[in-house]
Amino acid sequence: MSGLGTLKGLSLETVSLELANDGSLHIQGTITLPKPTEAIGPYIDQVHKAVVADGRKEYRVDVTRLTFVNSSAIRLFVDWVIRLEDEGKPYQIVFVTDPSRIWQRTAFRSIMTLTDDCARIES
């Protein structure tokens, strides 16, 4: 049984995290919660563990339809990349972004400076 195959999505008031048929994660909506690491962090932890269990070497996270986030939400992506660094790069995360959105262009550009090759951007 695939690790990702056992996971369901997460739906909150303004944001949903859905797993596509290929297992990639699609995040859409807005994240302006006071503590997104508490509300969404545990789900990302499950996704991470499932990706590792599946033995994937690359994992796509599509944020093109994540239209707005607060800075606390950016921490979710920072922590994810740092975790990959700390665990010896079990896989590479591919952030699929929409560079026409200011926050996506600048945030992921800076996130890339946290790692040599645990993450890359695809636009």
């Binding site: 303004t14 302006t32 006071p34 503590k35 690491t37 707005f68 607060n70 800075s71 606390s72 950016i74 921490r75 920072v78 922590d79 740092i82 700390d86 959105r101 200011i102 926050w103 600048t106 945030a107 550009r109 800076s110 996130i111 400076t113 946290l114």
Partner: protein, 165 residues
């Protein structure tokens, strides 16, 4: 807000006062976006304004004294003739809080905006704290504004962001 400013033909302005509750923030950010979009029909500018409003409002609500009867005030001026704008948020606070804000603003202002954003991310990574301190770096980088913090005569912290449209 200065009444002369309010009546200036080429100036659009918003002034809102509310109790420091997180529940207001989404609605006020959306209203600021609606206001900007109606004024200028510029999606990128609207996106910048919403981001600035969100970060400043969150900061004010987080650090307000929730036990008191204090309020948060947001002001926004769009001066079309000068092609510039200002967003300021104020809340009750102490001199020590203003000093801490000024120190953080000076640190962020000492670097290029994208470099400051990367610096702020490196600082928060592996920090083990729930505090982000990404806000001011994000205001400079995404909002493309200069930031200042002052203590007003009536004992309020005022954080102001200024930039060009």
């Amino acid at each position: 807000m200065d009444s002369a400013v309010m009546h200036e033909q080429h100036t659009d302005a918003v002034w809102l006062k509310f109790r420091p509750s997180w529940a207001y923030i989404d609605g006020i950010r959306e209203f600021c976006g609606f206001f900007c979009n109606t004024t200028l029909s510029d999606r990128r500018f609207t996106e910048r304004v919403q981001l600035i409003a969100q970060e400043l409002l969150e900061n004010a609500v987080k650090y307000s004294d929730h036990a008191s009867t204090s309020s948060v005030v947001i002001e926004m001026l769009i001066e079309r003739s000068k092609q510039d704008f200002m967003i300021a948020v104020s809340n009750a606070g102490t001199l020590e809080m203003v000093d801490a804000l000024r120190k953080e603003i000076a640190t962020i202002a000492s670097m290029e905006p994208q470099e400051a954003y990367s610096y702020a991310m490196r600082r928060v990574a592996r920090s083990g704290t729930s505090t982000n301190r990404l806000g001011f770096a994000r205001l400079r980088c995404d909002g493309q504004v200069e930031i200042s913090a002052t203590m007003t005569e009536d004992g309020r912290i005022r954080v102001e962001a200024r930039g060009t449209i």
